[in-house]
């Protein structure tokens, strides 16, 4: 594996960062160790668990499977960029208030996934919510309260 480092410019949460990282570095590596944005989690490093999920130009991406060098011009949104400093988005508030957060390690990924869902469908039904969350693993909650939080946000069960 090449240890050669490459320079690139990443736009993360609206700010430009000049990054010097190995060519093989994943976006998750660069976010966590290069930029100190540790909210995105490494649960499996295989793209299965969803704890590393970020948005690239508003679309869901597994940052553990995305090479930093491939991000290019796309704007990266991480959990730290979802709301202002110490602010909460509606999704975050709904998860907190519904008791949907237990150990919290999967939570950033669920927040990102739900943020993407609500951006394209403000009133998703239960099956839409469940389908949207099917790529994120939670080992604590049994998913019931996470889905309830999203349903609450969507304006009630339908």
């Amino acid at each position: 594996m090449s240890q050669a480092k490459r320079r690139s410019v990443l736009t993360v949460n609206g700010e430009q960062h000049h990054v010097l990282a190995p060519a093989a570095a994943t976006l998750l590596d660069v976010l966590r160790t290069g930029l100190g944005l540790t909210g995105s989690k490494c649960g499996c490093n295989h793209g299965v668990c969803g704890a590393c999920t970020v948005l690239l130009d508003g679309k869901l991406a597994r940052s553990c499977l995305t090479l930093a060098a491939d991000v290019g011009e796309r704007r990266v949104t991480t959990i730290e960029g979802i709301a202002g400093d110490l602010d909460f988005s509606a999704v975050q508030r709904a998860l907190v208030e519904s008791g949907a957060i237990q150990c919290g390690f999967c939570t950033p990924g669920f927040v990102i996934t739900l943020t993407e869902l609500f951006a394209r469908d403000p009133h998703p039904g239960r099956e839409t919510i469940r389908a949207a969350l099917s790529g994120n693993l939670c080992r604590c909650s049994g998913y019931v309260k996470i889905v309830e939080a999203a349903e609450h946000l969507a304006g009630g069960v339908r």
Binding site: P22, C49, F88, G99, G104, F105, C138, S141
Partner: protein
Amino acid sequence: MSDPVRAIGSSPPRLEAGDKAIGRAQYVDDIQRPGMLYAALLTSPHAHARILGYRLDAARAIAGVKAIVTGADLSGSRSGGIIKDESMVARGKVRYVGEIVAAVAASDPQTASRAATAIELDYEPLDAVLTIDEALAPGAPVLHEESASYVKAIQGGGHGNVVFETTVAEGDVERAFAQCDVIVENTWQTQAQHNAYLEPGGCVADVDASGRITLYASCQSVHHVQQRVAEELGEPMARIRAIAMRVGGGFGGKHASNIHSIAAWLARAARRPVKLVLSRMQDFEIQRSRHPARIWMKTGARRDGMILARDVRITLDGGAYADESPPVLAFALLMSRGPYRIANVRARGQAVYTNKLRAGSFRGFGNPQASFAGESQIDELASRLGINPVELRLANAMRPNDTAFGGQPVASCVLRECIARVRDAQREAPPLAPRNGRRRGVGFAVMSHISGLMGTAATVQLRTDGSIALSTGCVDIGQGSDTAMVQICADALSVPIERVSYAPQDSDASPYNWKTAGSRSTYMTGRAVAVASLEMRDRMLAHAADMMECAVVDLELRPGGVVGLKGVPKTVGFREIAMRSLFHSGGPIVVTHGFVFDGTGFDPKRASIHQLAFANLGVYTFGAQCVEVDVDEGTGQVEVRRAWCAHDVGRAINPVSCEGQIQGGFVQGMGYALVEAMKWNAEGWLITATLADYKVPGVLDCPPEIHPIILEDPDPTHPVGAKGIGEPSLVGAAPAIANAICNATGARLRTLPMTPERVLNAMDSRS
């Protein structure tokens, strides 16, 4: 005056939920320290081999390598839990594929990995045993030839590959079977389940100029980590400090420390901070699993449905090291009677060493295995008797003031209510529409569990401004204990929870707590918090009586941190009391309450018990679960459509957290029932070491409706009546689902997980 809003019984959002929601909660891997090194591990490619030598020159020559440790560096006795048979890196022999043989600390993760793979070991491969039968076969290769020399806190076992063996018995089983009209007998097999917490294990070890080591750990007890690391490094505990970070789940898998010492050793050697965080694959390969089990069980009843006798043999596959095998076996035996009034029971068990990953603690602790067999057998017995399985359970269910298997008295028992509640809830729910090609079935299971064990403590202090500082050693691994402890304290002192601060767990500062395990935090540490808080209340009332020149009996706590004179508006605030104690008389108000579980132990006159790891267990909890499943006739796929889980929690401190424990535990039990399985190949390699190969239920695998039904029968030994709910919710899922599959199809499955293939085979082989 209207009743104030009580902190207990309300469900404020978790204290730390906000930080978790915005990505600011700090887990081990989020730590950066100046000059921090990264650790990498080299693991064994052999299931069983003698280590002949190490060649480290190539690794040492790599620039950036700062420290290396192998088994050759270790001396002194081995470490571990009840049987000290382990070492932080292998010494002399390796006993499973994936066992750590060397560790490296280097300036960056890539260099550390490269150096670890540059280390060479010479091995003499040995024959391996991978199953219970191979381990117990005459002339089988022995994993621990030097077992007799190990330090053991418990005797029993130690011959051949037997880790531990014991028997629990009450009554006269043989005589009772002779009086039975119906006897059922069968064998069940269960698999290795991985805890699969989302955060892999890890720690950061730092070292100061005096050489004192601080560990930031993902763990279930800072006091345990401190003790284990001190033991393995040969340091006094005063030289080791352990601090818990936010923990991304544990479920028992992080309850014993086996990797923290490596980071501590490397930090001490390199004189630099060292981070050791496992990859997901390493976590699968080197941490632990639930014990695979083989259970033979025979149960007999009279024609009228009275169960007279049960005979049980449990064999656990313990893997390469003892870890928690002795207590898991003992607990499985104690739970094998089920929560029933059966006068004659004999439960015999063995745990054996095999050349695989150690099996250890996992939510349920032997109870899921025993209950899968026991609760399946109750349905088979009901079928043979021609009695409804729910009625058979109700008729034989334990009642208040009965005794548990082993003779422990059980004061509080609402099992029959739990059964009736799930039965009625399922009956009254609007029926789901039938589906083409699917057969619908309903299944029940009941369970008992305990909450208790060992010692714990809590400290409360009155701050200058009248707010409260609470400190315990109870590590919140996601279940919500931080919030529950604060609620208990706030309730005792009639203050809002915002007036109570809660200290993170730090072995330098936190009062002792054994572990987050055994469904014990709310019961044990919660009890300590309640008693300490009530004692603080009494000390404040004594001050207030002096200040108001009245008797304590004339005083009352009023909401918001105020002591008032009964019937009179006159008050003094906690702040004034704090000021008086700090600057005038009495001294700072600091109260610590510590205790060790003090319930009645086993009854030797009633039960014959050999070699248990504990003299008493805890208070008993009870529950019942009901599931509806659809079985696909073509594929054998089982889908759990709805579940009802009724559990007695004594008193719900935070009902929403209780519900989360019930729903999450049920889904882990459902994963155990239907999909999760660690598998090893013929050479002993784990072939399910990723989350792609080891299936954890996703949202689409789970029923949208998991209805928690919380029963509250306050436990008399707890000041606020609470009992634990961490584990019981997992226990009933597998037998309830097996019973539902049988109800739907007539096929009885006795092997976990109940995969489509097994379901189809069982459907094909119906008589």
